[in-house]
């Protein structure tokens, strides 16, 4: 679960080299992150459970999910917003969660930096991609060869 020990010279308080705790920047970022985890968690419960319920439990379950299903949903601004909020909150929540985990286990600051960069880039790309998809989504793409939702004009 962890490493064995931290590098430390033998010490007695009178002469000990002070153990270094890198100074924080006095902002309340960690507090905000902590609070955000809780708040977003509560909202996510509603969003995710709703999402799962609609996708997996209603109608035909997972088998109902296809292009038409998705397109049908995103035709409504309600679901657009739902999924958008869910996307953002989940990514932020998850990213922050993984950031904590990296802070915990990656001890060398180099490793820490690298992993976090990868994390932020990945999350950023995904959020942007997801947002674009939701907003620029065209439920009736021209030239589609498969079933489109029923409301699409018949080509």
């Amino acid at each position: 679960m962890s490493t064995e020990s931290i590098a430390a010279p033998r010490s007695n308080s009178a002469q000990s080299p002070k153990y270094k705790r890198s100074k924080g920047n006095n902002s309340s970022f960690e507090m905000a992150a902590w609070l955000f985890m809780r708040l977003s968690g509560v909202v996510l419960i509603v969003l995710i459970f709703g999402h799962l319920f609609v996708n997996l439990m209603l109608g035909d379950g997972i088998h109902a999910v296809d292009f038409g299903f998705v397109a049908g949903k995103w035709a409504s601004p309600f679901w657009q917003i739902w999924d958008l909020v869910m996307l953002w909150l989940a990514i932020l929540h998850g990213t922050n969660g993984v950031r904590t985990i990296i802070n915990d286990y990656a001890e060398r600051s180099g490793t820490r930096m690298t992993l976090k960069t990868v994390l932020y880039v990945a999350s950023g790309v995904i959020v942007v991609l997801g947002t674009l998809v939701i907003f620029t989504f065209d439920p009736c793409p021209p030239g589609a060869v498969i079933d489109l939702p029923s409301f699409c004009p018949v080509p």
């Binding site: 007695n12 308080s13 009178a14």
Partner: protein, 599 residues
Amino acid sequence: MQVHKYDVVIVGAGGAGMRAAIESGQRARTAVLTKLYPTRSHTGAAQGGMCAALANVEEDNWEWHTFDTVKGGDYLVDQDAAEVMAKEAIDAVIDLEKMGLPFNRTPEGRIDQRRFGGHTRDHGKAPVRRACYAADRTGHMILQTLYQNCVKHNVEFYNEYYVLDLLTVEEEATREDGTIYLQKKTAGVVSYDLATGELHVFQAKSVILATGGAGKVFKTTSNAHTLTGDGMGIAFRKGIPLEDMEFFQFHPTGLAGLGILLSEAARGEGAILRNSEGERFMERYAPTIKDLAPRDIVARSMANEVREGRGCGPNKDYVLLDLTHLEPAHIDAKLPDITEFARTYLGVEPYTEPVPVFPTAHYAMGGVPTNIATEVLQDNDTVIPGLYAAGEVACVSVHGSNRLGTNSLLDINVFGKRAGVAAAEYAKTADFVDLPENPEAATVALLEHVRTSDGGEKVALIRKDLQDTMDANMQVFRTAESIDKVLADIASFEERYSRITVQDKGKRFNLDLLEAVELGFLLELAKVMTVAALHRQESRGGHYREDFPDRDDENFMKHSMAYLDSNVTVESSAESIAGIRLETKPVVVTRYQPMVRKY
């Protein structure tokens, strides 16, 4: 080897040492050397309270407190010292409160006080509530509070540094009456760094000894494994006398068989002692204050019940402490820790069952002699400049032949503070005394001897044998015969000690080696105790001779002073023993003439 230079070096970071450090640390360059992390010191084990005539809950004043202290100590108390302590008690408690100590409070928000053995109103009329307390962890709170304040004031600690030698130099000096004598002067200390096995010499203008007690000479004891009387032993080996060493307090209520203390506060809160017949036997021994009689009396009464066949248990070797008539809520509020000890260690539920208890070796009334300014004396009245002592290691003597409960936490605060101030003030005007040549030589030789000695004797076995014989023969009842037996045993232990083998040959954390060194101190102190006990042919306070059951003010209203003296060659006799010279010192009497001590 490294050499450090400080104005003040304090040896020991218990209550006395840290109280001194708080004062001295703000006045002079101070180092505190301690063989344990400060918060491990045994002051933290003290439970019941610290007394001061605050009169927060009942009428009280410091003179009554002085009287109780003098009477409790069976008139062997130096009354000037007792007055100082009782007077300064009030400030000592307030100081602690200001430092943040979380005392229990009265409904009005003032420091609460409870009863304790031997503390009475108006010269013995009735028990009085004088002990300030924090549940049954008063000592814990004191130790923590003092440590916290040391942190606040950036006191420099050298943790796990064992002091093994005191550095003194001797110079010829002339007394007022023209006689010439050797005046000791303080140069510093030699210490052993447990982590590395290296020696460090500390040169200092003043040194304060605050190394605590020596309970480990006994088997059944409330004292920690680390209370091996190092400070007393070191001083004694340097030719400094030890005062009143025959007086050792046996606390009545140790968990039977284990010695873990159940505070007198239990009785202060209403618990009582019963024998196998269910009888509250203290009604017979001390009709007025019964279970709250001073410790020596209660301990002897208990031992007597057992001797007369009214002990409990399969071996009829203990009595019972009964709390069952107390409200569980009250017990939880006032005595949470000690009831947990009973549960954890004996599996007894104190709400419903009485707890097996028996006297346990608790407190050394004797120690390194000092005056009320905490300066160490090299004889009856010659001060050693720059050397101070406070706490259990010292003998001012405020406890006389029997310490009253709660007077020790007071002692360490009052005299700890005095020592800190005095040592720092002295350091301001004094110069360093030059270190002797090869200051560490004696310590190196001692360690080398212990490390290389190869006779196969085991330290732990010798220690066990010593503790067994001390428990059997030097406990609450003593006779010339039993004392002689101990002396003979010690002689054989010393011989065995010269043939010990220490298994651990390393330098790092070699506790094996240090246990052997500590045993050396224990043997020395046990010898001093027994010789002094043999010499005192009377019964007084904690020292009870069955062959001399009465107090004898005519011949023995004096402190005993034991000196290391290789010129004394007498084999065991009533007066002396090889290597130890016994002298006496008058008791300071100011206002209370000895009276019969009855409760």
